[in-house]
Symmetry: D2
């Protein structure tokens, strides 16, 4: 913390500030200039800077950011690569996760899994427990949905990611999924984060709709501090004044996160835009900006989906965007599933 005194601050005011900082456990460095005094306060202690800000004679208190430790590049300079079987997230290959918003039936899950595998996805996505803003909406199939998803993933040699809404669901979902997803609304559900710190599975942590990048990394810190080092972040759009799109996908968060942290970053263009016809543009933008992966909603009959059909791509749209992404990835020295099953399938 750096305390900037007012230009007219008295010697006594400066002493009062220093005394308080020392009481808080800081080491003090005092710089007295012609105009004003600046006090540097360093130490392993963490104190609320507002308490100093309220003292007489203080112009402002500048906080040295980075309250997170394990999540930061200072702590771990090299990229974290998360291994899920033969899938490596955070390495040279851009990993695409795709599938329906929620599991609805055996046929629907099977069709979606086949379609996304054919196009080159490596991970099947799908929800069994759905957080819905209205108490009157479809709430998911529960464990039955997980069984359907696991079956389809196995048949198509895909890994499975699924959302955990509360601590009580962790052990059940762990039996079926390969990656646990934390939704945007739970980004600061600390009870859940703490319990995920004890899971043996990797966790994908979505950014809260109004979370700063610092708060997001601090939430990741909760999981890391619990002992689970396999955390990936997921940008899914922030709330701004612009209402044409459901959210504003913050593509610039990609290079920022990669600068501040060693954790992989995934982008969700489906929730980020909320409309199927904008998903391809934003998927391309995310890969071009350097994202480590994408998570995309695909449904074979989105007009009759039980949730989020409007933002789910048709399989043909997904095939096309995957082809475009294969052209873009090499521009930044990366690849996307160079030999899709699809192409091999067609050649037979």
């Amino acid at each position: 913390m750096v305390v900037v005194m007012q230009e007219r601050a008295t010697g006594e005011q400066v002493e009062r500030v220093i005394a308080q900082l020392v009481e808080m456990g800081f080491d003090i460095h005092r710089s007295t200039g012609a105009l004003r005094t600046v006090i540097g306060a360093v130490g392993r202690t963490s104190a609320d800077p507002r308490l100093i800000e309220l003292l007489d004679g203080v112009h402002e208190v500048l906080r040295i950011t980075e309250p997170y430790k394990l999540a930061s590049r200072t702590f771990k300079p090299e990229n974290t690569v998360i291994t899920v079987g033969d899938v490596r997230i955070g390495g040279d290959e851009v990993i695409v996760m795709a599938g329906p918003c929620s599991a609805e039936s055996a046929e629907q899950v099977e069709a979606a899994a086949a379609a996304v595998k054919r196009a080159g996805a490596k991970v099947l996505r799908g929800g069994a427990y759905k957080p819905r803003s209205s108490p009157y909406s479809f709430q998911g199939l529960g464990e039955e949905g997980l069984q359907l998803l696991r079956g389809a993933a196995d048949r198509h040699n895909l890994k499975l990611i699924s959302e955990v809404m509360e601590s009580g669901q962790i052990s059940t979902i762990e039996r079926y999924a390969d990656i646990l997803q934390v939704g945007a609304r739970n980004m600061q559900n600390y009870t859940l984060l703490r319990d995920l710190g004890k899971s043996r599975l990797p966790v994908m942590l979505k950014r809260g709709i109004s979370a700063t990048i610092e708060e997001w990394l601090l939430s990741a810190e909760y999981i890391l501090a619990g002992g689970n080092m396999n955390v990936m972040l997921c940008e899914r759009g922030i709330r701004t004044f612009e209402s044409y799109t459901r959210n504003t996908l913050d593509i610039s968060a990609i290079p920022v996160v990669q600068h501040l942290s060693h954790l992989p970053i995934i982008v969700d263009p489906s929730h980020g835009t909320g409309r199927r016809d904008k998903v391809a543009s934003m998927a391309r933008a995310a890969v071009a900006a350097g994202a480590d992966g994408l998570i995309i909603e695909v449904h074979c009959d989105p007009d009759h989906a039980m949730s989020d059909g409007a933002q789910s791509m048709y399989p043909a749209q997904f095939d096309r965007v995957m082809a475009e992404l294969r052209i873009i990835a090499p521009a930044i020295g990366r690849s996307i599933c160079l030999e899709p099953v699809a192409r091999r399938g067609w050649s037979r």
Copy 2:
């Protein structure tokens, strides 16, 4: 839902839209003007308007808002008054809840309770379980804290409000508190909201930091739909681009909520500003704008508080703002604790 077709939309496109709406279960009213066709779709069904928006020939889809029912004034025109013993929230008297951010020790809780009672508060506030954004911060005293708070409340004839962070805590907190508080970060924790719908205690639901008023009322609907009709709302600041204040307290939410809903609205100027020296101004503004109550952090030694000391008022500051509020309330036909214990105490 109202579907506005493009000016150049063809008859076939209009028919396609109507067919889809009918399939969704809507009754249709079609208006064909010189410029364009507008289709009204009404019915008890709720469908995702984006699915229609993506059809060819559609200019835009206008949603008829108010997905909440029980929370709306349409459903219940008269104000809800919540009775907690002899305290009535939502009636003519503006109710002030005050106390420390968290219970820290028997002495600290006792001193705060005595101070806020003397100044005219009717409800003691205090947390036993604390949601902290850093895993390395003080996390609350748990049940021991609740015992301290209940004891002090009883000694000073105050009601008690305390925060519930997860469903597992409800039964414990119910044994001690009179009102259950849901924090801003849990506003969309649907598991928790559903479980609070079954509680016999009133619930104060804080607005999420980036929640629209509609989303907030929809979260209240979760509790109401569970059978608990004693819900009060609490405005505590929203996230904006302005960073001088921690949040921007949305005072205009007071008249808006009172227009849309019958539920009482409380304002939290402590979290809303994040700085002790701005609390009094915003408390006065809230009462002048028509709030049904205030919740204010007061601590007898805020410089050594274990959490949020910077936004806790000194007792003398709290006395003063209460005196100011007593002048303001009559301007809108209300009162605030006209005969405080303090005055009677001093006269003895």
Copy 3:
């Protein structure tokens, strides 16, 4: 500026940063702690902190704010009181400015002036040149409108405030008005601000819809730096994600501005809410929070107003809110037009 080096920064990196700061003209104070080095850079020079931020080994650069000088309380600790004839803005009395959005006809201006005077307003507001977001809307009566406004103001012993949209209009408007108003969209029109610095009339500077308080004070600095010390600020709502209200009136800006600056602050609840039925609540909140004045739209036939009728109060509504404000003002040691003409007029 304070430069915080990374924990692993090398001695060479620190030297490189210091060399660059010295080249920029700063005096340097270096603090080397166990964890990291912190460099304080002070001086009258102003440099772009991002240039330092990009250097190797730099963790972050903390800027000492307050790039404005003349607008700050550091420069001038006592409140500025602006005198316009017998009207004092920034003193003990809360000054109310009221009138129609735009001058439309002699009858309309006369009726509005009579109504606002009767209720206790001291300044007539009214636009002659209107900034409209659509090129197809009513653009104002121009100089003819100013003549109508001046005439009505004189007949009712009111001062006159009117908006300047561009430098070319200054000399014309100066011939009629007592206070020049700069609209929110022109808050960063530097050409205009510079020219207003040479005007002999006081200027009311509205906050831009997405301007931080710092940017707003910096725009005031442009006018002050030109030699015109009679600047008052006007909060009129900021853009946030909440769309129920047109803008979110930032009531907390009142105590913040009063802390940072000596300039008077006025609040515009009409533009701040955009709806007549929310104006009274926010006018009361503004006065309770400590505003030095209000500017309110009043129209005798708002349903037929040529602009902004929906946010214009009926005279009876304005009478009522003025009566409420007279009760509130004493709570903070202020008054509002204690003996309105209205009461005296009626008694005759």
Copy 4:
């Protein structure tokens, strides 16, 4: 406009609303459902929907958007291609404009022009009149700067774009530049927009920092309505709560604008991020998302630039991003300067 009545609205309230709409000049379509009445109001007239919203019995008023006409795809379905000599903006080639923030000296301008031409830019950018938020900052070289820019552009066969800050500068800048730029702060300076409607040169209109896409297109309408049909739009970042980046570049605005309007859209990753080390990522994202062009700040000695050096790329960085963009553009069927002078130059 579509008026949704409350569920309990009376027949008289409905009649009152219809009467008011008819008086405003609308044609009315009334739909009476079991639950409520919905009134469609169509016509060439434009009225303030808030006036209806305030009537008794009205639940809400839904506005049919698209107040702009000439800027919309409804008016002109095919893309606008703007021709500046042999440069076509809005066609298959992605056009890159690059150069220094401001013209500072003959040497600086010449070096930058040579560098950007070599890498494949088609248009030189550079400012002669600078809008600065502090009155104490460098304000540009004025006409001398324009002469330097024009000379360098001619020597390197580049087109020239430069910013106009006020109407009085138009005729001067028109003598030197090929494209006139309107800065974000002037997006709603209607006097300036109107005057640019009469210019013979194309105009690039930057999005205001807090402008919705609708407001931005409405500002373009001002220029188009004046008779100048050569308008291109420029996304440069919006203000959000996230403060790590200077602004949040709204990449999703690219597909949205292309859906709503026929005008070309350019992206400015330099102002959009404010930091040189984030420019390349966002330039790639913009092209991948489908932007028609880029405008990038390049300076041969950015550490000593007189403005915005921190966001100016070094020539070597610019060379590299251009090479990356050449790989990305074909993914969406476009190209970027396939045969740069650079390559030809090197072969000699």
